[in-house]
């Protein structure tokens, strides 16, 4: 016992150095680059900047009507996808929990979609939605439905549906974890009171897993809002800009149209907004806990 707690604490602080330095380089420094470039007149050929641009980049970025279209689509995408994911997940918890309690290995089958890369999931849907060889149009036609899910009018909903189908299991897993942590005595007590089935789920289970529902809603909303992968491989943001989410919009600004100034300005705005929302969002969740 020759170490006093004070020097111990000091020694322990060193354990944080590696992580902090790493994140400072990988995330802190890039944030500064975003901030610096966003106020400078930079091009691909002159990365040191040709001079102070003031708020010019921000002005250009915000005045671009396509930005608002992309933001609008991202919001719509996230709201619709989140509502469906959470509702379906809740339905699954209510109906499948007793079954999965007895046969836990069945849960794994429902988890397969979330292990698949969203980009490859997008390609797989491309395969099964293909007009000529895809199995979905094939069977829909057999049943007498003639809808092309990849058409101009349908595509923006098709990509939302794909998000829902891939990530509902994730919401389900978290809600199921919360449901399984409820004591079993609860069911017995409820059975005595005559509260069974649907009534039990809505009156007893629902209020008790509400914190988990809030967390899941929050996580799924954020994840859906920043969607990129499966839309990118399915439509590339098109046709036109019908499926351009905010992530795809920034990507295109930079890598296809070389609007360096606008894209870094937007990245910085998005960073500030995200951090603010997360700060308040987490505060809300911690309070509810």
């Amino acid at each position: 016992m020759n170490l006093n707690p004070r020097s111990e604490r000091k020694e322990a602080t060193k354990f944080l150095y590696g992580l902090c330095i790493f994140l400072a380089i990988m995330l802190g420094f890039p944030s500064i680059i975003n901030l610096w470039f966003s106020f400078n007149e930079v091009t691909f050929h002159n990365l040191t900047g040709e001079g102070f641009a003031g708020i010019e980049n921000y002005k250009n970025a915000l005045e671009n009507p396509k930005l608002w279209k992309a933001l609008n689509y991202s919001l719509k995408f996230a709201v619709i996808a989140t509502i469906f994911q959470v509702t379906l997940a809740l339905f699954m918890v209510f109906t499948l929990h007793p079954l999965l309690l007895r046969k836990p290995w069945l849960t794994a089958i429902l988890m397969l979609p979330i292990m698949v890369s969203p980009a490859l999931m997008g390609v797989m849907y491309r395969l099964i939605l293909n007009e000529f060889t895809g199995i979905i149009p094939g069977y829909l036609n057999m049943l007498g439905f003639h809808v092309t899910l990849m058409s101009r009018s349908m595509i923006q909903y098709t990509v939302i549906a794909i998000e829902v189908l891939q990530w509902t299991p994730f919401a389900f897993l978290i809600l199921l974890t919360a449901r399984q942590s409820l004591p079993y005595e609860l069911e017995e007590a409820a059975a005595v009171d005559g509260a069974m089935g649907i009534k039990f789920n809505f009156r007893v289970v629902l209020p008790m897993i509400t914190p988990a529902i809030i967390i899941v809603t929050f996580i799924r909303f954020i994840d859906s809002f920043r969607v990129f992968d499966h839309i990118f491989v399915l439509t590339g943001g098109g046709p036109g800009s019908r499926t351009t989410s905010i992530s795809i919009y920034i990507y295109k600004l930079f890598f296809q149209r070389s609007e360096l100034g606008q894209s870094v300005a937007l990245s910085f705005i998005l960073l500030v907004i995200s951090l603010t929302l997360l700060y308040f969002g987490l505060k809300l969740i911690v309070k509810k806990e």
Partner: protein, 281 residues
């Protein structure tokens, strides 16, 4: 009479649950099932309408993407394996000591932990452009190391949350015993606590490996050919191969299988990491 009626309605409910389970399992897994089936079909079988479920399986598509066709798929798979393994190990060796300091000494608990848990929720596109420019400057574009660094960043939040949760449950007497033997904190951490944490280290490795393997955005932006991961490489098949759905499906299957198999072991930890992360964050 009443008893049998009750057990009858119980059976009906049970049957209902099974039907719901099977329908949901089939619907959400449909693209995976269809892709795997397609990968074993001949071109003629793929083009038959209506789609057939009964066919003579062929390995032709796999032979084509792995050996015969002039594809880089084996290379992409190797890249993904190295990047995912490297990124996961880096995330573990950076997060484990940090979680120990947070749990045992409370350093950084109030600011570092919430800050890092927030990274998980940031739109990654924010960092795409500055990292691209940075990597260009230091020559890390299209390299394994560059991709390993990125995937480590993405894996760190979950690793930290799971480690903190696990270390909290290790009694402090363990450390005390080590101290009595005169061991330094570094020795206690790596020689005593780390081996005890094997189950959670394995879980973190699996989850990080899956996340890193499935990463797409940075693979798309930061690699061109040498370090291209399979998530990006497999999408090339759609354009370069056009209508060769069999080969595409085989490439997809190979790109999807490793994380799906690992996921069967790792999924219980996802629920835990999310719920404890929010409580402690």
């Amino acid at each position: 009479m009443i008893v049998s009626e009750k057990s009858n309605s119980k059976k009906t409910i049970e049957l209902g649950r099974w039907i719901i389970f099977i329908v949901i399992a089939l619907v959400i897994n449909l693209p995976i099932i269809a892709t795997i089936l397609t990968s074993f079909k001949t071109t003629a079988a793929i083009n038959s309408s209506p789609p057939t479920f009964f066919f003579t399986p062929t390995l032709e598509n796999y032979l084509e993407v792995l050996y015969k066709g002039n594809t880089n798929l084996p290379r992409y798979i190797i890249n993904s394996t190295i990047i995912a393994a490297g990124g996961s190990l880096l995330a573990i060796f950076l997060s484990f000591p940090a979680s120990y300091a947070i749990v045992r000494h409370g350093v950084g608990r109030s600011w570092l932990l919430p800050l890092i848990t927030n990274i998980r929720a940031l739109p990654l596109i924010i960092y795409a452009i500055p990292l691209y420019l940075m990597f260009q400057l230091v020559g890390l574009l299209d390299s394994w190391l560059g991709m390993i660094l990125i995937t480590a960043v993405i894996s760190i939040p979950v690793a930290l949350v799971l480690f903190v949760g696990f270390l909290q449950d290790i009694p402090i007497e363990m450390d005390e015993a080590g101290k009595l033997d005169g061991a330094s904190q570094r020795v206690i951490l790596w020689k005593l606590i780390f081996p005890m944490s094997r189950p959670i280290v394995i879980a973190v490795f699996l989850l990080s490996f899956i996340t890193s393997w499935n990463e797409f955005l940075f693979g798309l932006i930061l690699t061109t050919k040498n370090a291209t991961p399979v998530t990006v490489g497999a999408t090339f098949f759609v354009t370069t191969y056009g209508v060769k759905w069999g080969a595409t499906a085989a490439a997809m299957t190979l790109g999807v299988l490793p994380p799906v198999i690992l996921g069967l072991f790792a999924y219980p930890y996802i629920g835990k990491s999310m719920l404890s992360g929010a409580v402690k964050g």
